[in-house]
Symmetry: C2
């Protein structure tokens, strides 16, 4: 099998840039690299894999020739994915799509490699989940496999980078003294928090909360799990925190749950009352689970504090791991 | 009844200063005002109630003459309260104690005036609850009265001012570029969040979380309520947020819960998907409840987003309201 020809669509966004870095870190085998971005940021030169690459403009009317691309990471938002991802997959390209466009499509696998890598077999279009649901799935899938999972309730502490580069720049301007009204986010975020992440619907949940619930059930292939989320933005640059309450279906002691988490792939389990913070987790690919304890509100249930780098395992690392899994089971490369 | 002679013990702390401001705002009747603080900050002149008052040094070996003080607000921490509060009450002074020293003593009423003002009758030493539990009690006591309350699960987004002036100054220094290790808080808070608020015990809960649970049950006079908390510090100066999940004992519709909250004293109920943020709630005495919706994890339960100014209703306003309630039922004034 020859090394694949790889493209990044949305190469200058926070996630696209991180995909490049992760490919480099993991010595991902590739024979060519094409970088695409909106005309706003095309023309830039990006230093990657030891060489300088020009960012090519992405024109939805004249899309790239995907027949010469074996693997494409899409990280340019739902509109671009809707316009091009299926076309690329039809041309034979293995597409890993970071957007929400296809995640809940029944025939599109939604992959967290530690959980359900096998379901990508035979697919050319694969969806990468939301950055808040990936750590939740990494943490709770092993618990569900061992004891079942009755319900999950999560309150998030999501960093600004999860909302993209414009939001992060807005936050940085605010920290530097800018008092103008926010544009990229619904409220000022410096010195503030708000539970508002995408449009609300009649259920009272915002878009991010609905994504967390629906994607979690799809990744775990279990529609019977009851799950609710409150998605809150906090004035942190990178690193998503989550207060996770969950109930196993079968009785399980704290020691038993600890043992499952300690042994699970992708998890760094902190013993006792230890915990991680955003500043500590940045740069790591681990989902760090700490402060596991009995939930005094719900007999048999547990509480934990979960942290992950939302740009890495929450986005880019997971996408590259999907590509690695796909290539290893030989569905990815055209060769 | 003559206007009481009032003292503030801990007049230069964040809460002491706010007590002064609230007394002023509410035109609290008083015939004299004595301000006490540690020798570190005594000697300062404070502009209050239209005149400049000198801060007197507090010497635990030579305490103030409480026989000439009718009402004392204690806001100087648990050590000072343990040393002086009972002595002051024994001398006939009505003591409103902001510290945690006496909150769980069976013979000391723990008061949120909207909830249990009547239980202060006949007492000279009255405890003011924790700043995270006051909004929770204001919000849920009316629900409990109407429908009962089965369980409560809360995840907090607590501002730095709740940890006192040293923590707030440390936060401000960090925002200005200071990279030295934190002293007042267990982790750097600028650009960070952490679920660590007082020592952990073998239950896995930290001190603040145990306070929230124990004080809540005491204020509502109901030990059967199951309650768990996760207390998280966020990089916000003032304003505590809480994700609150709760289950009424009797079935209650979202409309019925809304109606109870809409009519309850001390609550500003926001309809539909509306919510408040810390920056919006600063300066208000309301407990602002928004985003009430069915909890998809728990049939019959609800989720809400609750905000309050932790220095006002969470501390100083509640203390002054206790004093007002005590004076109105004639236990406060010595006259």
């Amino acid at each position: 099998m020859t090394a694949p020809r790889v493209a990044i669509v949305g190469a200058t966004g926070l996630v696209g840039e991180m995909v490049l870095r992760i490919l480099d870190e993991r010595h991902f085998p590739l024979s060519r690299l094409d970088l695409f971005a909106s005309s706003r940021s095309s023309g830039a030169q990006i230093e990657v894999l030891g060489q300088s690459s020009a960012v090519q403009p992405l024109d939805l009317q004249h899309p790239p020739d995907f027949t010469s691309i074996d693997l494409a990471f899409f990280a340019a938002g739902s509109d671009v994915s809707r316009a091009l991802a299926q076309k690329a997959a039809d041309a034979g390209t293995l597409v890993i799509d970071k957007s929400a466009a296809f995640r809940l499509e029944p025939d599109v696998p939604l992959i967290v490699p530690e959980v359900n890598a096998e379901t990508l077999r035979g697919h050319k279009l694969i969806a990468n989940p939301n950055c808040a649901v990936i750590p939740l799935a990494v943490m709770l899938a092993p618990v569900a496999r061992r004891f079942g999972l009755e319900w999950v309730s999560v309150a998030t502490y999501q960093s600004v980078s999860g909302a993209g580069r414009d939001a992060l720049r807005e936050f940085e301007r605010q920290l530097a003294g800018d008092r103008t009204p926010p544009v990229a986010l619904p409220r000022r975020i410096a010195g503030n928090v708000f539970p508002d992440n995408g449009p609300f619907d009649e259920s009272g949940y915002n878009e991010e909360e609905r994504k967390i619930a629906a994607e979690f059930k799809k990744i775990l292939s279990d529609d019977a799990i009851r799950i609710s989320a409150t998605s809150v933005r906090v004035p942190v640059a990178v690193g998503h925190g989550e207060v996770v309450a969950f109930a196993p279906r079968e009785p399980a002691s704290r020691d038993q749950i600890s043992q499952v988490l300690r042994e699970a792939a992708g998890i760094k389990f902190l013993e006792g009352n230890s915990y991680a913070t955003p500043l500590e987790v940045v740069g790591s690919d681990d989902v760090v689970v700490g402060r596991l304890r009995a939930d005094a509100a719900h007999p048999g249930a547990y509480l934990a504090w979960v942290m992950s780098d939302n740009l890495r395992k929450g986005a880019a690392t997971n996408a590259v791991q999907i590509a690695e899994a796909a290539l290893s089971i030989s569905v990815g490369a055209r060769a």
